[in-house]
C-alpha cells in the first residue's frame, strides 16, 4: 500500500468512528459543541501521531510480553503533555473537555492503532496512519457535533477571534431546538442513523445490497 493510502484510509475507507466503530465514548460525550469536538480531535491527532511514531521506533526493542504496558505508558505520557499544554495555553478547551481529556489514554483508537499498526510497521507509515486516523476521527466527531449543536441548541460554537464571540446563532432553531439531540440518548440515535447511512454508502460502493 502506498504512503498516500496509509494517510487517506482513516478518513473514509477505515474511518475509526463510522466504519471501525472505535472511540465511541468520547464521540458521544464530547460531541455536544463543535469547539469541543475540534479540541478533542486535535488532541487525538497529536497523541495518536506521536504515540504511533514512538511505538514504531521502539517496536523491535519492546519485548512482546510487556508491549501493552509499554504502549500505555507512552500513550499516557503524550496525553499528559496534551493536558498540560491545553491547560496552560487553551484553558477554555481544557475546561470544556473535562474528564474526556485524560480519558484519551483509554481511547480504543489510540491503543488499537498501536497494537494493529504501529507495532508492526515502519515509522513513516505509522505516522501517516496516526495522522489519517486522527483526521478521520476529528471529521466524524465534528460532523456529529455540528448536527447535534445545530438541531439541539440552534447554535454553532467555534473559537472566539477578535470581535467574533465564537457562537453563531441560527434563527428559528435557537428558539425551538430539538433538545433530545444534546442528550446522550440523542447522540446514540444520531450515531445509529449515521452508521446506517455509511453502511448503505459502503454497500452501494461495493455493488452489494443497499
Amino acid at each position: 500500500m502506498s504512503h498516500i493510502k496509509e494517510l487517506t484510509k482513516g478518513i473514509f475507507k477505515e474511518n475509526p468512528t463510522f466504519i471501525i466503530m472505535l472511540g465511541m465514548c468520547p464521540t458521544l460525550g464530547v460531541s455536544t459543541q463543535v469547539s469541543n469536538a475540534l479540541g478533542m480531535g486535535v488532541s487525538v491527532i497529536f497523541v495518536l501521531t506521536c504515540s504511533n511514531i514512538f511505538i514504531s521506533l521502539l517496536r523491535k526493542i519492546i519485548p512482546d510480553s510487556v508491549r501493552i504496558p509499554s504502549y500505555i505508558v507512552i500513550i499516557a505520557s503524550f496525553v499528559t503533555i496534551v493536558e498540560m499544554v491545553l491547560h496552560a495555553f487553551v484553558p477554555s478547551v481544557y475546561e470544556a473537555l473535562g474528564v474526556y481529556l485524560p480519558l484519551i489514554v483509554v481511547n480504543c483508537i489510540i491503543l488499537g492503532r498501536a497494537e494493529a499498526f504501529a507495532g508492526k510497521n515502519g515509522v513513516l507509515d505509522s505516522a501517516l496512519d496516526g495522522i489519517g486516523m486522527g483526521i478521520g476521527f476529528t471529521m466524524s466527531l465534528s460532523f456529529i457535533a455540528l448536527i447535534r449543536e445545530i438541531f439541539g441548541a440552534g447554535t454553532i460554537t467555534l473559537f472566539p477571534v477578535g470581535s467574533f464571540s465564537g457562537v453563531i446563532t441560527i434563527p428559528g432553531l435557537s428558539e425551538s431546538p430539538v433538545r433530545v439531540l444534546t442528550l446522550a440518548a440523542g447522540a446514540l440515535l444520531l450515531m445509529g442513523y449515521l452508521k446506517a447511512f455509511f453502511q448503505w454508502k459502503t454497500a452501494r460502493g461495493k455493488g452489494g445490497e443497499a
Binding site: 460525550g29 519492546i62 498540560m84 496552560a88
Partner: protein, 184 residues
C-alpha cells in the same frame, strides 16, 4: 533470568524517557497554569463580591472551608466570600460563594471541577446557582433534589452527585458564616 532483567531495564528506560518528557513540558507550562488559576480565582472573587469591597484573605483549611474574605461597605462588614472544597462525580470541585452575615447566599460560582460536559458541567452556568441564592438565612438551602421545585429538579437530573456536592458545600459555607457572627 537474563530475559527478565532485560525486560525490566527496557521498561525502566521507557518510563524514564516518558517521565523526562512530561517533566520538561511541566517546566514550561506550570507557571502559566498557576497564573491562569490565580486569574480565574480573582475573576471569581470579583463575580461573587456583589459590588462590596473585598478584604484580606483569612486561611481556614479545615477540610471543606479553604479560606474566607470579609466583604465591607462604608459602614462595616456586609458579608463574606468563602472558598469551599467539595467533591462531585468527576472528583474534587471548588465553589466560591458570598454570604450575608446571617448565612444567606448572595452569589456562588463553581470554579475548578472535572464534571461531565453536558451533565455536571451545567453547574458552571449562571442559572444553576440561582436555585440557591437568597437561601441559607431564614430559609434553608436545599440539601437534596427533593427540596427543589419540579422545574429545578428536572434541570439537574442526570447530575445528582454534582448537585449534592454543590449543595453540601454551600450549606457548610452558610453554617461557617453564621458561626463568624459578623466578626473579621
Amino acid at each position: 533470568m537474563t530475559r527478565y532483567i532485560k525486560t525490566g531495564v527496557i521498561l525502566f528506560l521507557i518510563c524514564a524517557v516518558c517521565t523526562a518528557l512530561c517533566a520538561l513540558v511541566n517546566e514550561v507550562t506550570a507557571p502559566r497554569i498557576a497564573a491562569n488559576t490565580e486569574n480565574d480565582r480573582l475573576a471569581a472573587l470579583a463575580d461573587v463580591s456583589g459590588g462590596f469591597t473585598i478584604g484580606e484573605q483569612v486561611d481556614v483549611g479545615d477540610g471543606s472551608i479553604n479560606y474566607y474574605i470579609p466583604l465591607t461597605d462604608g459602614s462595616g462588614i456586609a458579608g463574606y466570600i468563602v472558598e469551599l472544597s467539595t467533591s462531585g462525580y468527576g472528583g474534587a470541585m471548588t465553589v466560591v460563594a458570598s454570604y450575608k452575615s446571617d448565612g444567606t447566599l448572595m452569589e456562588a460560582k463553581l470554579t475548578s471541577n472535572s464534571e461531565t460536559p453536558g451533565l455536571g458541567k451545567k453547574a458552571e452556568e449562571g442559572w444553576y446557582m440561582d436555585m440557591f441564592k437568597g437561601l441559607g438565612g431564614s430559609s434553608p438551602l436545599p440539601a437534596s433534589k427533593s427540596d427543589l421545585s419540579p422545574e429545578d429538579n428536572a434541570a439537574v437530573s442526570g447530575a445528582s452527585v454534582t448537585f449534592g456536592g454543590v449543595s453540601s458545600a454551600l450549606i457548610s459555607g452558610s453554617e461557617f458564616v453564621k458561626g463568624l457572627g459578623g466578626a473579621v
